[in-house]
């Protein structure tokens, strides 16, 4: 039976309450009659012989010679791979990156290549720990390369490890990993979870330094990316594509391998979280009841570790290798096949239930800035053509938004929250006044390089990610959040969904239309 496509439900009297993810928990809410709920398509089937499909892609690439033809003894080969921010939640072992890297290494070994480096392409994200690297590339690869210093995290602040490749037609500096730039072949191993990922963004962003990133990670770019999930209308992608051209013209040969996953997000017995509520079985209902009761009695810290230990059952639906642009076109089509849902018309109110995880809090805590980024950055932008909510409409987000930060992963976030957001929440003002001092701060640089901290400038990018939504929306309400933290973000706290709807009526009037975006599992709304 082929999976059912996405679906828009109109709430009537018989509709059961709707599931909202709520951080390290979930709740059921009654939405007003007439509201619409957007459900994602069901998971696509997984490729049956994954290793075979990978090998086939490497041997029959798109617009490129087969990989073996690109490999020769004495060459410098660099394999870069996506970091801990992908996929979400982390997938069960073996990770698809491990499978791809092992296949590439097998071919390299056959070709007699012995100068191989593996680099976690983390740009300004935190370094991956040993355990995380082992999970991504597998123990065999880790033990063979890491002890000899051949498997490592990219360091965007090591001046000796960066190469400047010139500027784009628009004056954007391109500075990426020197090892990657000077290799005879760069193989990029990607996981394309959402439409934003992959393509030239893989190398031009994942292996780039702040000097390069600041040209597209800024407020102007974000406000002109409508949305950044739609690469044809995204200034973010235009800039990355320009940079990709510079990289190609500089003679860097890239063999891009992109994989796509289905949206099978929650393992049993939590799989009810991705079912449509009226289809919940008796077991699903009792799972919901039992788990919500148990979670309510569990301390935050324990609840967080339960959720952070969730490994998703999602797996590979496709793999393409070869030329960056040609590969990415195929990949994007596959992502759309899994995620695209057609929605007619915009609503006055958009409601979202944010889950426990976003790309930047794996094995960590979703701090208030990440709540803003996930809600107004990622989820809001999961659209093509038009946002789900009309201009001047209200976004209602359900998330506990705790006043909590990971002291190792997010030190600059804490200071951003305490020193910047207390002064202003205006992205342009923040960019103008504060970005440089955080970006060039020695302490943050030290923590990024030697500890496991996101770069000093990273919280700014999180804020910019929401800049388009901030510009578009007439108000943001967070349900069930820490009131002080929510106010610090510049949003309004509400205790219940009912209160939030009541508050929203100040902006959108007494009889608003409402769309609930039932995500996760991930989807992309095509709004006509």
């Amino acid at each position: 039976m082929s999976p059912r496509p996405g679906f828009v439900l109109e709430v009537d009297r018989s509709t059961p309450p709707t599931l909202f993810m709520h951080g390290n928990g979930y709740r059921l809410e009654h939405l007003p009659v007439g509201s619409r709920i957007v459900y994602p398509p069901e998971p696509l089937p997984v490729v049956r012989d994954i290793d075979g499909a990978i090998r086939d892609a490497l041997l029959h690439p798109v617009d490129s010679d087969p990989l073996p033809a690109l490999l020769f003894p004495g060459m410098r080969l660099t394999i870069a791979f996506d970091d801990i921010s992908l996929p979400l939640p982390p997938m069960r072992r073996p990770d698809v990156r491990q499978r791809v890297i092992e296949a590439v290494l097998d071919l390299a070994a056959e070709a007699g290549v012995d100068d191989v480096h593996l680099i976690a392409a983390l740009a300004l994200h935190r370094r991956m720990t040993e355990a995380e690297l082992r999970h991504a590339v597998g123990d065999r690869v880790y033990d063979a390369f890491a002890p000899r210093g051949l498997l490592y995290n990219f360091d965007a602040e090591d001046p000796d490890a960066l190469a400047s490749l010139g500027e784009t037609s628009q004056g954007e500096e391109v500075e990426i990993s020197k090892r990657a730039a000077e290799s005879d072949l760069l193989v990029y191993v990607n996981i394309n979870l959402v439409a934003m990922d992959g393509g030239h963004k893989s190398t031009a962003t994942g292996l780039a330094s702040y000097r390069s990133l600041r040209h597209h990670h800024n407020v102007r770019t974000m406000q002109h990316s409508r949305s950044f999930m739609d690469q044809h209308r995204s200034e973010l992608h235009s800039s990355n594509w320009r940079m990709g051209e510079v990289i190609r013209n500089a003679g860097v040969k890239i063999f891009q391998i992109e994989t796509t996953l289905n949206n099978d997000t929650f393992p049993k017995p939590f799989d009810f979280l991705q079912k449509r509520e009226w289809e919940w079985s008796l077991r699903d209902r009792s799972s919901y009841l039992a788990s919500t009761k148990a979670l309510a009695r569990t301390p935050d810290r324990v609840r967080r570790s339960i959720f952070q230990s969730v490994l998703a059952p999602h797996n590979m639906t496709g793999v393409n290798a070869g030329d960056v642009e040609a590969v990415h076109e195929l990949t994007t089509a596959k992502v759309m096949e899994q995620q695209l849902v057609h929605v007619e018309g915009q609503a006055d109110i958009l409601t979202l239930g944010l889950p426990h995880i976003c790309p930047y809090n794996v094995h960590s805590v979703m701090n208030p800035i990440l709540v803003m980024c996930t809600g107004l950055g990622y989820f809001f932008n999961l659209y093509r053509r038009r946002p789900l909510v009309r201009e001047g409409g209200v976004l209602i987000v359900s998330h506990p938004t705790p006043w909590a930060f990971h002291p190792v992963h997010h030190p600059s976030y804490i200071d951003f929250f305490e020193e910047v957001l207390t002064e202003t929440t205006d992205p342009l003002e923040i960019e103008k006044t504060y970005e440089q001092s955080f970006a060039e701060d020695e302490w943050y640089r030290h923590l990024y390089r030697t500890s496991y901290a996101y770069h000093g400038v990273h919280p700014f990018y999180m804020w910019y990610w929401g800049a388009h939504a901030l510009q578009h929306l007439g108000g943001v309400i967070i349900v069930g959040g820490d009131a002080k933290a929510v106010r610090r973000l510049g949003f309004k706290p509400a205790t219940t969904m009912g209160d939030a709807l009541e508050m929203a009526s100040d902006v959108v009037g007494r009889d608003p239309s409402l769309t609930h975006f039932h995500c996760p599992p991930l989807m992309l709304a095509e709004v006509t």
């Binding site: 930060f405 990971h406 804490i414 200071d415």
Partner: protein, 800 residues
């Protein structure tokens, strides 16, 4: 006319900086324009007598009226009419120089108003000032060849604890009570001082003071503990002398040392005055002015005022007193007028000195119950407000006996003491230390109440009625003008009006208490202190590490490093073993932090240098950052942004802090360990577990700070220091702007007393909370598992 009688006269006044003296000087300047004044004033610690008169007398608000009258001429007039001479009534010959003696000789009248008025003065001090003071003034006058009229201010309470009428007669001119010799009492008081000083230096007491100092400050380093112990000794001496004074006074039938020494002082003066004409003026309890210089004027918080305010704050649940008894209160301006009248009138032609009592008890009695009711009602209508802005309800007294009140309070103080000791033995810090603060505050309140009861209770229970026949006789001879401008008839005081309209508003105005409801506006005290700490003028900020910036200690970091390479089962065993040792380590730490560190760092003996350095970089993420106080780290960075030099001064090891925290600080001062020379060849150098110098703890930390400041050309007065424990006191005391971070109980107490900024910094709520400080699993061996030699062998084997 009084003003005419004193026209062209020079008057010597002692005690001009006191309550009565200030009023006297003001009144003489304003109401007797023809007189000149010679003020005998003691030099202050840092200021000359002239300066003291300028600042402490002429700038007092008593002179506001005169300033308004004279306008610009005030200073000129004051300079013309006032001569200040340096002198001390506690010294023989008053400590005068030739100029002083000449000025003294030129006086026609001497008003002696200097006294040690505290009821709890040490015995010898009260004796020197109150008992010998009048005699010394008389002696100085006579030896200067003066025959000036000496008006000596005494007190009604020289009559002692008697019941019934106390007349205006010489102290011993009564059939009751003992008649001690004042000379014997002086000798005994001086001997008591010498004996007490000697006793305070005996080994058992010195040991006790040292123990108390340690209990208060912990391992604060020898110099600081020594000076604290010396302070305890001085306090003990003072306390013993106070007790001696009170005991002696009570033994002889006086309520306290003040009345007792004043009584003997009168006696001594009468015996030694020779031909010098003397008038004794004895006021009762002097309180705020009825009318002059303005209603309610008062200087200093003296006797009834602190009791009233403490009551109004709801802290005096009970107070002794005889409800139908008389509280003999007299407004200051009445006393001033009576003194000036005595000066103008000249001596009595009789051989015995004239004695004038200025009191209200017999002419216009104020009953104790009436007073208490008025105070209660007034504060019910005009309540003070607590810190939250709620009105404070004042209690109603039931007038139990003094013994009972005292007993209850003593029991309360003892109970709180016990609880405080119990709490002090626990290793509390941060917000938990606030329990101790609450307890300490309550003990302070209870013991203050106890003090008041012990000191002033007798005055509320006095049953003597002071005769004012002489006063009234003098009053009746005054003409109408003098009666109008120098009123001292106690009968004119309308007590209801005086207490509720004059005195209480004035007391409340002078006390720094909240009289408006609602919460405070404007920045909080902490915020103001913080702003000062973060002012651009500061130029050096020193930080302790453990429990100031990071919720961790040397035991944690050692344990982490040691277990980093142990297999899981042994890691747990190791951590538990270290935990079991914790109490012993804690005790050693309390004894002396330097010793503790040395003892502890010895455990690193044989640890391979390279391995430790490699592991220490991991320690940054796993321990230092995980347990960091983000607000603390932000503060370091704030200081840096302001251009302040930032220094980390810590007893932690160089390998732990130096590379990991370098970008945060301009400089790092820490404990350093040196590698063993002999084993250097086997598997790289190893640590020998010995420090290369004294670890920067206690006074060494203060010294390190001072050295650093000197080397860098910075001033400690403009420096800020952050630390968490009493062992850091030397460093905190050395700087101009100390900040206590999550202070443990003893430091919290010190910080509170001295008004230091206290910061409560906590770990980030989103971070991991490892239960035990043990490193993550790796496959390599630990230096702590096996003796160094086998570990080295094992490691070499592995490397091959």
């Amino acid at each position: 006319m009084i003003a005419d009688a004193l026209h062209g006269r020079r008057l010597l006044v002692t005690g001009a900086t006191g309550f009565l003296g200030t009023a006297l000087v003001e009144r003489l300047l304003r109401s007797v324009p023809g007189c000149e004044l010679v003020l005998l004033v003691r030099a202050g610690r840092r200021s000359t007598p002239q300066r003291r008169v300028q600042r402490e007398v002429l700038r007092n608000d008593a002179f506001d009226r005169l300033r308004a009258d004279l306008g610009d001429r005030f200073d000129e007039e004051a300079a013309r009419r006032i001569t200040v001479i340096a002198g001390d009534v506690g010294m023989d010959g008053l400590g005068l120089d030739d100029a002083g003696r000449a000025a003294l000789a030129s006086c026609d009248v001497a008003i002696h108003a200097a006294a040690a008025v505290a009821f709890d003065s040490p015995l010898d001090r009260a004796v020197e000032v109150n008992l010998l003071g009048p005699t010394r003034v008389a002696e100085a006058l006579r030896s200067a060849g003066s025959t000036a009229h000496l008006v000596s201010v005494s007190t009604c309470y020289v009559a002692g604890n008697r019941r019934g009428r106390a007349g205006e007669v010489a102290v011993f001119d009564t059939p009751f009570g003992p008649k001690p010799s004042w000379r014997d009492e002086v000798a005994a008081a001086r001997r008591a001082r010498a004996d007490t000083e000697a006793e305070s230096r005996t080994p058992p007491l010195l040991a006790r003071f040292a123990k108390e100092a340690r209990a208060e400050l912990g391992a604060a380093g020898i110099p600081l503990l020594a000076s604290r112990a010396e302070r305890f000794r001085e306090t003990w001496v003072a306390h013993t002398m106070v007790e001696a004074g009170r005991a002696r006074a009570r033994a002889l039938g006086w309520p306290d040392a003040y009345a007792y020494t004043k009584a003997l002082g009168e006696q001594a003066l009468c015996e030694t005055r020779g031909d010098l004409p003397v008038t004794l003026v004895r006021p009762s309890i002097i309180e705020s002015a009825l009318a002059e210089p303005r209603p309610g004027w008062i200087r200093g918080f003296r006797m009834a005022e602190p009791v009233i305010i403490t009551y109004a704050r709801g802290l005096l649940k009970e107070f002794p007193g005889i409800p139908e008894g008389v509280v003999d209160v007299i407004p200051v301006d009445l006393v001033v007028a009576a003194v000036i009248d005595a000066a103008a009138r000249g001596p009595k032609p009789t051989p015995a000195p004239a004695i004038v009592q200025v009191a209200s008890g017999s002419a216009n009695p104020l009953r104790y119950r009436h007073l208490v009711d008025m105070v209660h009602d007034w504060f019910s209508q005009h309540p003070l407000y607590d810190a939250k802005g709620q009105p404070i309800v004042v209690p109603r007294w039931s007038f139990p006996g003094r013994g009972r009140v005292q007993h209850q309070l003593q029991r309360a103080v003892r109970a709180i003491d016990l609880a405080e000791k119990a709490l002090g033995a626990l290793p509390l810090r941060g917000s938990q230390a606030r329990w101790a603060a609450d307890l300490e505050e309550r003990r302070a309140e209870a013991s203050r109440a106890l003090d008041y009861v012990e000191l002033y209770g007798a005055y509320a229970e006095t049953e003597a009625v002071f005769a004012v026949d002489e006063l009234l006789a003098r009053w009746s001879t005054l003409d109408a003008t003098d009666q109008a401008s120098f009123g001292y008839d106690p009968g004119v005081v309308d007590w209801d009006h005086y207490v509720t309209q004059v005195h209480l508003p004035s007391v409340v105005e002078h006390a720094r208490v909240r009289v408006t409801p609602g919460s405070r506006t404007g920045p909080s005290r902490s915020q103001r202190l913080r702003d000062r700490v973060l002012a651009p003028e500061r130029h050096l900020a020193a930080f302790d590490l453990e429990n100031t910036l990071v919720a961790s200690n040397v035991v944690d970091s050692y344990s982490w490093l040691a277990t980093r390479r142990l297999p899981p089962d042994e890691r747990l065993r190791f951590a538990l073993r270290t935990l079991a040792e914790a109490p012993a380590l804690l005790a050693l730490d309390r004894q002396d932090r330097g010793d503790f560190l040395r003892h502890f760092y010895r455990r690193f003996e044989g640890a391979p240098v390279a391995q430790l350095e490699e592991d220490a970089t991991q320690l940054l993420s796993h321990l230092l950052l995980t347990k960091s106080f983000p607000a603390g780290i932000r503060r370091v960075r704030q200081h840096r942004r302001l251009g302040h030099r930032t220094v980390l001064i810590t007893g932690a090891l160089d390998v732990v802090v130096e590379r990991n925290l370098a970008p945060l600080f301009d400089d790092i001062v820490c404990a350093r360990m040196s590698p063993q020379a002999s084993r250097g060849d086997r598997g790289g150098p190893r640590w020998n577990g010995e420090l290369t110098g004294a670890p920067p703890t206690g006074e060494a930390r203060a010294q390190a700070m001072a050295d650093y400041a000197e080397a860098e050309g910075l001033r400690l007065e403009e420096a800020v220091a952050y630390a968490d424990s009493a062992s850091d006191l030397p460093m905190l005391e050395a700087v101009g702007f100390p900040v206590a971070v999550n202070p443990e109980i003893r430091l919290a107490a010190v910080a509170r007393k001295r008004g230091w900024l206290v910061e409560q910094w906590s770990k980030s709520p989103g971070g991991p909370r490892p239960l035990l400080p043990i490193g993550p699993v790796t496959q390599r061996t630990s230096f702590a598992r096996r003796p160094a030699a086998t570990a080295a062998v094992a490691e070499r084997g592995r490397d091959r």
